[in-house]
Chain length 331, copies 2
DNA sequence: TTGCCTATTGAAAACGTTTTAATTTTGTAG
DNA sequence: CTACAAAATTAAAACGTTTTCAATAGGCAA
């Protein structure tokens, strides 16, 4: 029913081997054969079945990027970087979402076990690090935008601890001493690292850590709103708030603006990620920028390199971040 | 080197056929065999190679969602709907991005021709409708969030013309008679439809159409900012602005707020999509809400149904939209 | 002419599954 | 016991490619 390489061979009066060679641009084939095959392909409207090819070659030239959801808009830059790197070596990047469900993440990793893709990049994995680490011994897996506490898997990320330190220190440098922190209930390594950076900055400035000033929630704007509300209802209010994501910060600032708090003066805000909306929302948000595109590009380059070797690179690469200063810190 | 079904068969002392049947839960196999096979699978850490399976079965149980980029955050709801529908029939949804390049869109459709996926959903296609329509005759393709001017392909969308009409009419109902329109340079069908709705609303209210009031740009916030600036520098300024996306509206409102224009009074704004940030930005944006999740769910349900039949459904389904009224229209 | 090397070609094996068709085993009724 | 149906099993074919290996054709030197 479907047109196969056999049909093309028949139409072009050559063997299937020759057709295959023409299709793959092998050099040891006569000009006539090339012409005949191409004509036949054209006439029949043939396109090769990759299932056959992939099976025979035992490779798919596809890499799967596994993410929680596409909602985090800054993923788009990461993915762009990944695609650009993949393109160079003829790979395609496919994306699948886990909805932050570890079980579904495992299901998607099944595409790797079952050879439906050649490699996987986990963006913000939810599975425990032991599991991932074990799998990475048998399969080509890399992690991006995160790192594992187990240190034997290819990671491309930023130094989140340092970034948390930098942001918090900046607020301290602005004379603030009661700095709130809004972070996530979910103990992702990046959140933990950012919190640790926050702590270290306090310690470095001899400010005692006050657990009251930490609010735990989700990754969304509502968390920011509720967090800000809670922190501002403390007897001893904060004079600055660092959040581990811009989305949270925007929600938090939203609360402040609506309650007549002068952002950038009474209360400073520092976010994380530099999402597109962070400079649309007024007052504009100061934030930590991470090199999204570059992280994506780098992780795929390294992963593809790993596919070609038996001694995979298991390093953790930390790319440089930077602080973007805007109105929310009074800049 | 890799563990195959043969190894399992040997270890379990049965034939590969039996192993296959156990793995696929076929009923005509003895309890002992099931035990033996499962034990062997466990011991060897075997997982089936889908390339072999897919080739033999001529199906992959995978559907590819092709989008421009993941930046448009409201896609995430659509994709969630798609996944939920896919899950019911044991399909996986994979996502690939075209970066709005028709050529790359065609490349990705290659996964369909080459049988790497069973079907494709195009979210906002960039290829011309003739091409897509032709392809849909040979392959299982559906369109979501858009429609084609050629009407012979499965589409799930909203009535964008009607939505444009509704939004504009609402502004007119608020006493506005100079209504600006910010839309896209790119002539996507949805943009065109929304514009047509805008026109029809003007006509229905006996307001002459003024081409000066239309600004063409991109899908981003910058376009909104520039568009608003340009429209407000007219001798005869608008008293309301309808944009074909929230992102644009937010950029536009941003300009207005910064230039001391009282949004919701001097100037009304109406957006489109009801993205998450549209109620975070103050003043809050009135907008057209489309049923994202439902569109995604529906399109995949219909597509899967089409895969099972020789007489595919080529209808266009228009799901209901609604108006969300907030501060930007003085509500 | 003969022999040999090179360039091109094709037949067949291989990739790892599922499924068909044939065979063996089991169970049951007579 | 025997006969026969039903159940379980297997060998082998099939899916559509790529690749190996052997074979053929062509060119050229001797």
């Amino acid at each position: 029913m479907n047109i196969t390489i056999k049909d093309v061979a028949k139409a072009a009066n050559v063997s299937v081997a020759t057709v295959s060679r023409v299709l793959n641009n092998k050099n040891n084939v006569s000009e006539e054969a090339v012409q005949a095959v191409n004509r036949a392909v054209e006439e029949l409207g043939y396109s090769p079945n990759f299932l056959g090819r992939d099976l025979r070659k035992s490779e798919t030239k596809r890499i799967l990027a596994i993410i929680g959801s596409t909602e985090q808009s800054f993923y788009s830059d990461v993915l762009r970087g990944m695609q650009d790197a993949a393109y160079v070596d003829g790979y395609d990047i496919l994306i699948a979402t886990t909805r932050n469900d570890p079980e579904h993440e495992m299901h998607l990793l099944g595409m790797l076990f079952s050879r439906a893709v050649d490699g996987v990049v986990l963006l913000a994995p939810k599975l425990d690090s032991k599991t991932i680490s074990d799998l990475s011994k048998r399969y080509r897996i890399a992690i991006c935008l995160e790192r594992l506490d187990i240190n034997d898997i290819l990671c491309v990320t930023i130094d989140n601890e340092r970034a948390g330190f930098d942001a918090t220190s900046y607020l301290i440098g602005k004379g603030r001493r009661r700095i709130g922190l809004i972070t996530t209930e979910i103990r992702s390594q990046s959140s933990v690292d950012r919190e640790n950076g926050y702590m270290r900055a306090l310690k470095a400035a001899n400010i005692p850590f006050d657990p009251e000033l930490v609010y735990y929630g989700d990754y969304d704007a509502d968390t920011g709103t509720r967090g800000c509300e809670e922190l501002m209802s403390l007897a001893n209010k904060p004079d600055a708030i660092f959040s581990i994501s811009d989305t949270i910060s925007i929600g938090a600032m939203n609360y402040a603006v609506q309650h007549g708090i002068t952002v950038g003066k009474d209360l400073l805000f520092f976010g994380f990620d530099n999402i597109a909306y962070s400079h649309m929302f007024i007052p504009r948000l100061s934030t930590v920028e991470q090199p999204c595109y570059l992280q994506g590009k780098t992780v795929v380059e390294k992963l593809i390199a790993n596919m070609k070797t038996d001694e995979p690179d298991k390093s953790t690469y930390m790319l440089p971040h930077s602080l973007i200063l805007r109105e929310s810190t009074g800049d």
